[in-house]
């Protein structure tokens, strides 16, 4: 934020009335900032912390799977001195639960909607800021209590939540059901309510901003895919999240106020009576998945948007099928509300209802097919530049296809009978969430870094990080499909006590080693990110020669108000690369006022 332009007078008649301090203190400028770019960057820094946390928890999981009941390296002796540093059985589910919760709610969602949403939306639509900057700031600050609740839950009596990130009652609801359900689960619920608050504030803000604050000429169908995806994601969130909030509140009341929404009659868990009951455990599952299935699309759609932008830019070619791409995103979102039951095929749900969900789940693969083929179409006849953002975006495509296709197996209800709750699911999760969302995040990070900081991340180390992550990722997670075929159940602290799976340990050891190396490669990412802040190659305002509006700010890193005296006027779509009137390298910015057919 070096070039903080003095707020021009013209900014005042724009729809943002918050005042401009010419001499902002460090506190208001970087900490309690209401500037969307600063908030986006704050999200980004936070995510590195949470990613490390979630990853370390994953490594704990991996250690147990490779060498069960042996001393946990480095910290084992510190944590459990009387057990020879070996993790107790009740700790394992805490690890998986908190690993998934951190990764989903504190890494992927804030990374894509929080960091990119904040940074990109106003820039890509030519706005000076979000519609409600203060609300935006609050949305960031709700992340911290969430992180606090998650972290401190490890310290409370009984330990952290241990009922899986899906937190099915009665295991999650009854205090005597598991050590982690004693107190940790309450912290988990509180943390999630904070994340929910953050997302809700964010999504209302994004929708309003995109509907209201687009600059002149920025019609809906001239918005870049990133903004489109974030827009639809925000709608998805606004409609799905309240149901999760309601469910979380019901479980919280069950745990603290003696209600029994999810507690059946006459339940006795671990010799403790659970009260009169009268509730129904399946109700939670329905309400949870009514949110959490849309949530998985909340975690993939923005990445799809980012990847579309990146691929088009580095293929130097218009995005193939822009409108079908938008329609595909919209229909994924719409259909996303009709498939939640596919997580409950074996839950005791009415099987006829299951068959309905099976059909809708099959159909939701269609818009994803459209997207995949359009990406391929974009590559066709293009001129590909293998930059770091592009490599990550390409990885997204090839990994998402694997993750998506494995979804088809599970959508087939009879096959799901066998692979449900096995490592086949775990493989699917990571191919879509790591191979998809996280590689999409990497792509966006390398891509927008110059706009954020005026410098480029080191390309060499970026490529090292990419290659390492790509290889190790596949080594860790592809074998999980095979494990799943053998029925290897998930959330098992020690699967090798079964004859059926005892031979799978060497494979798991290989996967664990790969996971550790994968972790080391992420350190390269963090180091590259931090060092490039000071040392990175200085670049001009549009190093990638990109078309979309965010690259057309008057300053290299846009200052407060983004656009100087005059907001930009958009005259064309974001993907006119290689048009006849475009520049030699294909560039034709959204504000370039050139008449069609006139050669550059």
């Amino acid at each position: 934020m070096n070039s903080n332009t003095a707020a021009p007078a013209a900014a005042h008649d724009h729809a943002h009335a918050h005042d401009h301090h010419h001499h902002q203190s460090f506190l208001t400028k970087y900490i309690f900032s209401t500037d969307h770019k600063v908030i986006g960057i704050q999200f980004l820094f936070t995510i590195f912390v949470t990613l490390a946390l979630g990853g370390l928890l994953a490594l704990g999981v991996r250690w147990q799977l490779a060498y069960p009941w042996s001393e946990l390296p480095i910290i084992g002796k510190l944590l459990w001195p009387d057990q020879g540093g070996q993790m107790p059985a009740e700790f394992y589910p805490m690890l998986t639960t908190m690993h998934a919760s951190v990764m989903i709610f504190l890494v992927i969602i804030p990374a894509l909607t929080g960091a990119f949403g904040n940074f990109c939306i106003p820039l890509q639509i030519g706005a000076r800021d979000m519609a409600f900057p203060t609300m935006n700031m609050l949305s960031y600050w709700f992340m911290w209590p969430a992180l606090y609740f998650f972290l401190s839950s490890f310290l409370v009596e009984g330990g952290a939540a241990a009922a899986g990130w899906t937190s099915y009652p009665p295991l999650a609801g009854i205090k005597s059901a598991a050590p982690g359900s004693l107190n940790g689960q309450t912290y988990w619920l509180a943390g999630l309510l904070c994340v929910g608050m953050s997302s809700l504030l964010g999504s209302i803000n994004y929708i309003t901003t995109i509907v209201k604050l687009r600059t002149k000429g920025m019609t809906f169908f001239r918005m870049p895919m990133t903004t489109w995806a974030l827009f639809i994601t925000a709608i998805l969130q606004a409609f799905a999240l309240p149901v999760l909030t309601a469910a979380l509140i019901l479980q919280l009341l069950d745990r603290t106020m003696g209600t029994s929404f999810f507690v059946p009659e006459n339940l006795i868990v671990n010799n403790v009576e659970a009260g009169p009951g009268g509730g129904q455990p399946l109700l939670w599952q329905h309400m949870f998945w009514f949110y959490s299935h849309p949530a998985v699309y909340i975690m993939i759609l923005p990445a799809m948007g980012v990847v579309s932008d990146v691929i088009s830019t580095f293929a130097r070619k218009p995005l193939f099928g822009y409108k079908p791409m938008v329609i595909a995103i919209a229909s994924i979102a719409g259909m996303g509300f009709m498939v939640w039951g596919h997580h409950m095929f074996q839950s005791g749900m009415n099987p006829a209802l299951g068959a309905t969900f099976m059909v809708s789940t099959m159909l939701i693969a269609l818009p994803s097919a459209v997207k995949t083929f359009n990406w391929l179409g974009t590559l066709w006849g293009s001129r590909i530049q293998f930059t770091t953002p592009m490599l990550n975006a390409l990885a997204f495509v090839s990994m998402f296809v694997i993750g998506g296709l494995s979804g088809i197996f599970m959508a087939a209800t009879p096959v799901d009978i066998f692979i449900h709750d096995t490592y086949f699911i775990v493989a699917h999760i990571h191919y879509v969430l790591f191979g998809g969302s996280l590689f999409g995040f990497f792509a966006g990070l390398y891509y927008w870094y110059p706009k954020m900081f005026g410098r480029q991340m080191n390309e060499f180390w970026g490529k090292v990080h990419f290659a390492g992550s790509f290889i190790c990722f596949n080594l860790v997670f592809f074998p999980m499909h095979i494990l799943g075929m053998s029925g290897f159940p998930r959330r098992y602290a020690d699967p090798y006590s079964f004859d059926t799976w005892k031979d799978a340990q060497p494979l798991n050891q290989m996967m664990t080693i790969a996971a550790v190396i994968l972790g080391f490669f992420q350190i390269i990412l963090v180091a590259n990110f931090l060092i490039s802040l000071r040392r990175g190659k200085k670049v001009d305002g549009n190093p990638w020669r990109s078309n979309s509006l965010e690259w057309h700010t008057p300053d290299v890193t846009p200052g407060h108000g983004n656009w100087g005296a005059h907001p930009p006027v958009v005259v064309r779509g974001p993907y006119d690369f290689g048009a006849p009137e475009a520049a030699q390298d294909g560039y034709l910015g959204q504000t370039e006022n050139k008449y069609p057919g006139v050669k550059a």
Binding site: F132, V211, G258, T259, E265, N593
Partner: protein, 208 residues
């Protein structure tokens, strides 16, 4: 950097006031929130093994009176806004005051209703059973769970509304506050709408 738009460029952004748009969006999320609660209540009640007869646990007359009180507060809200539009700010303030008082009256009645429940041992996990109807125990418990949760969250929303009304009441009203009154009013009507359904759902709906 940019020049004039090409001929035929449209203004973007529909002519909707930003904050009003956001408020309606917020109300949409609130619809989902209360809708989830109400849906859960409906299915839990119809799947229950023995739901207490509403007459034995609630007094429909009090519910009716309270509904009328709340509807009255909605009327005073629109009157406050109408006055504000006509720039009769003192009158607007008076109506806001009435709204506040009616809302408060509703909550006071709720307080006494809650108290009466507690008195009879009706709270989530409470001891209340009916002689000869021991199988009501889980039903009674579920009733208490749903009743307190749904009306409780409705009451919390009212309290939030009352705080805003109080803020407006003690402010020096100016013509520009007309928008604030309208938006707060929209919220208030929404809370009223929720109650319009909670009332028959809890007080009137007979057991099958």
């Amino acid at each position: 950097m940019t020049t004039v738009p090409l001929p035929g460029e449209a203004e973007t952004g529909p002519p909707i006031p930003t904050s009003k748009f956001a408020l309606w969006l917020f109300l949409a999320t609130e619809i989902m929130f209360f809708g989830a609660f109400i849906g859960a209540y409906i299915v839990l009640r119809s799947g229950s093994n023995g739901w207490p007869d509403p007459h034995t646990v609630l007094n429909p007359l009090i519910g009716t009176v309270n509904t009328v009180v709340l509807l009255g507060s909605s009327v005073t809200v629109v009157l406050a806004h109408a006055a504000a539009v006509r720039n009769e700010l003192r009158k607007a303030k008076a109506y806001i005051g009435f709204t506040f008082l009616l809302g408060l009256a509703f909550l006071v009645v709720k307080y006494f209703e809650y108290n009466a429940k507690f008195h009879h041992g009706i709270w989530p996990g409470g001891p209340a059973t009916y002689p000869g109807h021991e199988h009501y125990q889980p039903g009674m418990n579920m009733f208490a769970s749903c009743y307190f949760t749904l009306t409780g969250f409705h009451a919390l929303h009212m309290i939030a509304g009352l705080v805003v009304w109080a803020g407006l009441f003690f402010k020096r009203l100016e013509p520009r506050h007309e928008l604030s009154i309208e938006l707060t009013g929209l919220y208030w009507h929404f809370v009223d709408l929720v109650w319009i359904f909670l009332f028959p759902l809890f007080y009137l709906l007979p057991n099958k």
